[in-house]
């Protein structure tokens, strides 16, 4: 009798166990731990950017194009601004764009997938056709188009391609994977006995979706969100490199490289360092994602452990 009761744990208890297990497995993935450490250090450095004695936007022409030195760790740019300071402030922008963009795609993709998977039928095919339509777009080209249009307009929240605008356009073009993953999870989970039990006990649809099914499909969503974070950072960088993204003088990793384009043959550090930051943050995020994937997929870890012992 007691076994039956034990299987119906409240979602809160379940999630504590899940988090502990995931963390236990995640710790075994050396790449993921290294990625986590590097990413944390990068993010902390960017958060602490105001500690720098230099102004990220004010030009200081007498000191332009200085090579890396004790005063200017990564040298100075064409307007004499300290590159290290600009990279840190740029990191705040680039990482925020990544974070906000992923949040926006989660906010669209998860409900779309949940509704389609839970209710099925007409709603499912309608939502999935829309998802297909978005998936058939050449996304980087549409991103350029949207950013080019929004660059010219003055709307509340969307002024001159600020962080929110760029995050928004990246987000609304990348929610489809979330929708598909969540839908797939719902299609399997909604048939399980514990869902029927919850329904028999009188739970509302909303409660079943949010409280009972979603927590069990959260693993794939978290893994995908990490990978999407790297993807969003690279999209912002590409967009800003083409000058459709974050506008000067506000620095972002992408527009720092873009600005370096005219001088990088003579002053290579201007292009090398911002790109290195993008590279480091994306590779560390990808390793974290890989570790999380293994952590949420116990079978794979068992295999791995078997191999190593």
């Amino acid at each position: 009798m007691s076994t039956y009761i034990e299987t119906i744990e409240s979602p809160a208890e379940q999630s504590v166990d899940l988090a502990q297990n995931v963390w236990k497995r995640f710790r075994r993935h050396r790449g993921a731990i290294a990625g986590g450490v590097i990413f944390t250090v990068l993010a902390l450095m960017c958060i602490l950017a105001p500690l720098s004695p230099y102004d990220p936007e004010k030009s200081n022409l007498p000191e332009k194009f200085q090579p890396p030195s004790a005063a200017h760790w990564l040298g100075t740019d064409a307007l004499g601004r300290d590159l290290f300071t600009r990279i840190l402030y740029g990191g705040r922008i680039s990482l925020s764009v990544g974070g906000i963009a992923v949040s926006i795609s989660l906010l669209i993709g998860v409900p779309v997938g949940a509704l389609a998977g839970y209710y099925g039928r007409g709603l499912d095919s309608l939502l999935m056709r829309i998802t297909d339509a978005f998936l058939s777009l050449p996304s980087f080209l549409v991103l350029i188009l949207l950013a080019a249009i929004l660059r010219e307009v003055e709307l509340p929240f969307f002024q001159r391609n600020n962080v929110f605008t760029i995050s928004f356009v990246i987000g609304i073009l990348s929610w489809m994977t979330f929708a598909r993953l969540v839908r797939a999870a719902f299609l399997t989970l909604r048939e399980l006995d514990y869902v029927s039990a919850a329904r028999a006990l009188g739970s509302s649809d909303g409660r079943i979706i949010v409280g009972h099914i979603l927590p069990n499909g959260i693993g794939v969503v978290i893994v995908e969100a990490t990978l999407q974070l790297g993807y969003a950072i690279i999209q912002e960088a590409g967009l800003s490199f083409l000058s459709f993204g974050i506008q000067q003088p506000t620095p972002s990793w992408g527009n720092l490289i873009s600005a370096a384009q005219d001088h990088f043959i003579k002053y290579p550090w201007l292009a090398i360092f911002p790109g290195l930051m993008i590279f480091l943050s994306i590779i560390s995020v990808n390793y974290i994602g890989d570790g999380l994937r293994d952590a949420f997929d116990p079978y794979k870890v068992l295999e791995r452990v078997g191999e190593y012992t």
Partner: protein, 345 residues
């Protein structure tokens, strides 16, 4: 299978229709309207009025959409605004292959695309071929020697290859092969930093190839990383399977087991992956083409976006989306053809 393909084709048409509405709406709600950036030229307000009528821009949006889709050559248009329709419409609509005129050059959009497409197909085709030729041996060897030093390096490389922003990689390669490394005999830079060919000389194959090296390397790296990693894991899933064990038990050489029996199955997902990437051969790579000043589709699109040349942007997006949908279909059909276990009803 035939009925499956037929049904998918019908769905495809529906999807393209949906997309065309989406894109049309997007471009037309853009503030300022399509004429606000008419080639960056200043035009008199009266002239704008006439142009608007000629393009049908004075009509409500749903009607404009129909003109854009199916043309307006069956209608009489009042172009001077005196209330009397005196000339017939000139647009044939995208369904009949009329994508309109580029605002920038005033040439038909398809003509503009035709000029750039061969350059992009050359660049992206060679890039993709290079990527496949490197990724396949890399993936196989990495899987066969799982957990060896080589595998470790290859896996790390593939993580790195997927994390490098391609425009940064392009700049680094220019730095190394143009600015730093010199040809030891002539003292000239080892490789050209951009363009398709040197201006002064006539056609020379070696010159063309030299111009291809850096953009191809830049574009191929991400694909090599992605394909090789995929092939590695797909081989690793197959290698322990029973049918291979029985092949070995029958006395087949390991070489034959891997290359004839395992590889065939392991390559199936790669084939579909490549099929899904084929649309890039049409749309090109905006970032690579703009770094290396390659006169292809990507740069054309970029310039059109800067000058908000809407007819051109729309044409590239619609045709690009068409390619994506078509390649998705091809990928699914190939998958069923190559893997008899997959059946579509």
């Amino acid at each position: 299978m035939t009925s499956y393909i037929a049904r998918r084709l019908v769905q495809t048409i529906g999807l393209l229709f949906l997309l065309s509405i989406l894109l049309f709406a997007l471009v037309n709600i853009a503030p300022g309207g399509p004429l606000s950036a008419y080639g960056g030229r200043r035009i008199r307000p009266e002239r704008v009025e006439i142009l608007k009528r000629q393009f049908g821009l004075d009509q409500p949006l749903p009607l404009q959409y129909i003109y854009w889709l199916a043309g307006n050559d069956w209608l009489q248009i009042d172009s001077d605004g005196d209330g009397i329709a005196e000339q017939s419409g000139t647009r044939k609509g995208i369904l009949r292959g009329d994508f309109g005129f580029s605002y920038r050059t005033r040439e038909p959009v398809l003509h503009e695309i035709g000029l750039r497409l061969p350059n992009t197909v050359t660049l992206m085709g060679i890039t993709m071929l290079t990527a496949i030729l490197i990724a396949i041996p890399l993936g196989i060897y990495s899987a066969l020697k799982q957990y060896s030093i080589f595998d470790f390096l290859a896996t790390t490389f593939s993580f790195a290859g997927q994390a490098i922003p391609e425009f940064w990689l392009g700049l680094l390669l220019i730095l190394i092969f143009y600015a730093w490394l010199k040809n030891p005999w002539t003292g000239e830079p080892l490789l050209p930093p951009g363009g398709m060919s040197s201006l002064d000389s006539g056609f020379s194959l070696s010159d063309r190839l030299a111009h291809l090296v850096l953009p191809v390397l830049t574009g191929a790296l991400g694909w090599i990383a992605w394909y090789s990693r995929f092939l590695r894991s797909s081989l690793l899933e197959i290698l322990p399977l029973n049918y291979l064990r029985s092949a070995r038990a029958r006395g087949l050489s390991e070489r034959r087991v891997v290359f004839h029996h395992a590889l065939r199955n392991a390559l199936i997902p790669i084939v579909t992956l490549v099929a899904l990437d084929l649309p890039y051969i049409f749309t090109g790579a905006v970032l690579i083409e703009s770094i290396f000043a390659w006169p292809g589709m990507g740069r054309l699109y970029y310039q059109a976006a800067v000058e908000r040349d809407y007819p051109l942007l729309m044409a590239v997006l619609i045709i690009g989306a068409g390619f994506i949908i078509l390649c998705n279909l091809i990928a699914d059909i190939l998958y069923a053809y190559l893997d008899p276990r997959v059946r579509y009803e």
